[in-house]
């Protein structure tokens, strides 16, 4: 592109950009006037409406500036926009704006615009570089992804030994890993077999209650209950799956949603058995293969710290729980990766692609779906019994529909069927909101914004590419 046309474009773009920004700001003003512009304050017995002019003006100004920045980027003015956006972000960081939310908008928005500008600048520059000198970004990304998995596992293993690994970080890590495991379990059902399951939390609940009830009634410990919890959950998966798996898509989703609620309501109302809303307390804590984590163990029992000859510290149990859930999650992952190479895993994926074609090839669709449902449920059950032993207390409160929705969101936003995608999505959806608890109610807003951004930019999930599990040629064929 020559300098002349660039200048022409620059001259022509300003009025349209200003117009666009003006319209956007006008809409923002209309929307924000009733929502932000007035605040009701109760003074004694009276309600007083106080205007919030500064907030309103700042918000509209941000919208104006943002829209102008986007239009300018389109016009090819990368550098000024990047500088301006960084300035806005710095402003939000340095000065206390009237509300914390405006500060977040200024910082996040400024940084986002600066990033987009920088990407645009690189792209524009890249077009000027001859093709041979260009870096194969897609190939590099693919290679990086290949390293990301082992790197994440290594990080997960050394995490508790890092200096900044305090109690809070470990708790968040355990929570994230629990959801990673649930995500990997549901990924078998939704990502591989393509069965939209909105009631996955039911199997999580079955696993948790199986462990709590078996431990209470029969006095079995965690390690004997874990497989039983998986078996029970898988059994429930088959019971549910058998009548409903002939349904497809939305219909299946509705039925599974109903099943999830049924389990929760049964748990809530079967008071004699489940304790109803009181839940079950005193669920046995995990033992290190028989060695309890207690300062003063009962007579005749050696505890973990005595066995190792170290001082008692309550965080030992946290570390143990962390490694426990890490191991469970990695088992889930290894199982999924393995089974995708087996005929049953391939049949799941084929079933997701085209059920009628599968039938014409002699694949029994009901059995194939049932195994996916049962195996997914089994891992949900494992996760559930881990949850029970970590909390020490379970009640139906923990197994509401929102849990199913979050797990499904992790799978879908991660990229259906992608194992690393699930990890990234769990970090974004579970880890970030936990880290940013200081933002209070805005963290849920940020959660929503994340979901919207991912669906806009990566409609098929963060990592949607799929590599065949079996290849004819050893070298990686590129289309």
């Amino acid at each position: 592109m020559t300098a002349g046309t660039l200048a022409e474009r620059g001259a022509a773009f300003l009025p349209t950009a200003l117009k666009e920004a003006g319209i956007a700001a006008g809409i923002a003003l209309l929307l924000a006037l009733p929502l932000v512009g007035a605040r009701t304050v109760s003074e004694g017995s009276a309600f007083v409406v106080t205007p919030r002019i500064v907030e309103l003006a700042l918000g509209v100004a941000f919208v104006f500036a943002g829209r102008l920045a986007i239009a300018s980027l389109r016009g090819g003015h990368h550098l000024p926009v990047i500088v301006g956006a960084l300035a806005v972000a710095a402003l939000g960081w340095r000065f206390a704006l009237p509300s914390a939310f405006l500060g977040v908008v200024a910082i996040a928005g400024g940084l986002a615009v600066a990033c987009i500008g920088a990407i645009g600048l690189l792209r524009a520059r890249r077009d000027e570089i001859p093709a041979v000198a260009r870096i194969d970004t897609a190939g590099l990304l693919r290679q990086a992804l290949g390293w990301l998995g082992p790197a994440l596992i290594a990080l997960a293993i050394v995490l508790p030994f890092l200096p900044f690994a305090d109690r809070r970080l470990m708790d968040i890590a355990i929570l994230v890993l629990t959801y990673v495991m649930l995500g990997w379990g549901l990924n078998i059902v939704v990502g591989l077999a393509g069965l939209l399951d909105l009631g996955y939390v039911a199997f999580y609940a079955v696993g948790a209650y199986s462990y709590a009830l078996i431990a209470r009634e029969f006095g079995l410990d965690f390690w004997s209950c874990l497989p039983l919890a998986g078996v029970f959950a898988a059994f429930f998966g088959i019971i549910l799956g058998f009548p409903v798996l002939r349904l497809r898509g939305d219909y299946l989703a509705i039925v599974t949603l109903g099943f999830g609620e049924m389990i929760r309501i049964i748990l809530l109302n079967w008071y004699n058995f489940t304790g109803g809303p009181d839940g079950i307390s005193g669920v046995p804590r995990p033992t290190f293969f028989g060695l309890p984590f207690k300062r003063a163990p009962p007579e005749g029992v050696e505890s973990f710290h005595q066995f190792l000859g170290i001082d008692y510290a309550s965080i030992h149990r946290t570390y143990f729980l962390y490694f426990l859930v890490l191991a469970l999650a990695l088992i889930t992952n290894a199982f999924t990766l393995r089974i995708r190479r087996l005929p049953i895993g391939r049949a799941w994926e084929a079933l997701r692609e085209d059920e009628i074609a599968c039938r014409s090839l002699g694949i029994n669709p009901t059995n194939t779906k049932l195994t996916a449902f049962a195996i997914g449920a089994m891992f949900g059950g494992f996760a559930g019994s881990f949850f029970a032993t970590r909390q020490g207390f379970i009640s139906p409160e923990s197994f509401t529909f929102i849990e199913s929705a979050i797990i499904l969101a992790i799978v879908v936003l991660g990229g259906m069927g992608s194992q690393i995608g699930v990890v990234l999505a769990a970090l974004v959806l579970i880890g970030l909101p936990e880290f940013f608890r200081e933002l209070h109610e805005y963290r849920m807003l940020a959660f929503g914004a994340c979901m919207v951004l991912i669906t806009v930019w990566r409609p098929r999930g963060l990592l949607a590419s799929r590599d065949p599990m079996i290849r004819l040629s050893r070298r990686r064929a590129r289309p």
Partner: protein, 266 residues
């Protein structure tokens, strides 16, 4: 006895009689074509044969492995797995986001499932399963060579051109090792060169693998060129049957395709 014997096949959809008391036979090592104008009921016959529809009346007997299977009593996937009838679809049904090779591996699902001990042996990586898997890849490679897709084996099937997808669907059906291959308009949308290649492929399958082929086709160059026996349907009823030369000159067939002269006069 014939490989496939269809007797008194009738299929109604509400008040519409799609197939009306049709009977024919298909032989091993021969290509039997099912032709007729649009809406004659050809695909309905196919769907009854392959278990996708349950016919109202009729007997569909298939001889495989020395046993007789009554297709009208089998579920669709059993028709494929037990009676060894494979089919392709008028609107191609491949697995677009799986690789070409994986498409062919899915077709060998039942054999591989048994070899993998219904997944348990496969999970521990038993040698028996690895042998079976290698055999499955070899079979897939054989058919990829036959349909000329070997160099595209590892790309997503959805990225193949139209003709390639058609050939892949035939290769996939052959990977199930059928005794009867049912092809629903395999030449639709192919150019003359691809059409000729299809003829060669079907003739090869017939000659070398000695299975029965049942073919629905509109492309007369395909039908007349390779069929051994032709069954003509019109409005759900069989109006003619015989070798290509006979059917080509049968007045009933000409009437069905070109309309009645008397009707035009009057």
């Amino acid at each position: 006895m014939s490989l496939l014997t269809v007797e008194h096949l009738t299929m109604r959809f509400g008040g519409l009689v799609a197939v009306d008391d049709v009977g024919f036979a298909a032989e091993e090592g021969r290509i039997t074509a099912l032709i007729g104008p649009n809406g004659a009921g050809k695909t309905t016959v196919f769907n009854c044969l392959t278990g996708f529809y349950k016919p109202d009346t009729g007997r569909l007997a298939l001889r495989a492995d020395g046993r007789e299977h009554l297709l009208e009593r089998l579920d669709d996937f059993r028709v494929a797995s037990e009676a060894k009838v494979a089919r392709t679809f008028q609107n191609i049904r491949i697995f677009p986001q799986m690789s070409v090779l994986e498409n062919l591996m899915v077709a060998q699902h039942n054999r591989l499932m048994r070899a993998s001990g219904y997944t348990l042996l496969g999970l521990v990586g038993a040698g028996r399963f690895r042998v079976a898997e290698r055999a499955a890849v070899d079979r897939a490679t054989y058919w990829l060579d036959r349909v000329g897709l070997t160099d595209r084996a590892d790309v997503d099937a959805g990225t193949l051109p139209y003709g390639g997808q058609r050939r892949l669907e035939i290769a996939r059906a052959m990977c199930t090792e059928p005794v009867l291959l049912c092809l629903d308009e395999p030449a639709a949308g192919l150019n003359p060169r691809e059409s000729a290649e299809l003829n060669a492929l079907l003739t090869f399958i017939k000659a070398v693998h000695r299975i029965g082929i049942l073919l629905i086709e509109h492309d007369m160059s395909v039908v007349m060129g390779i069929s051994d026996h032709i069954v003509v349907l019109d409005h759900g009823a069989k109006i003619s049957e015989g070798p290509p030369d006979f059917v080509r000159n049968d007045p009933a067939v000409i009437r069905a395709y070109l309309g009645e002269e008397e009707a035009e006069d009057g």
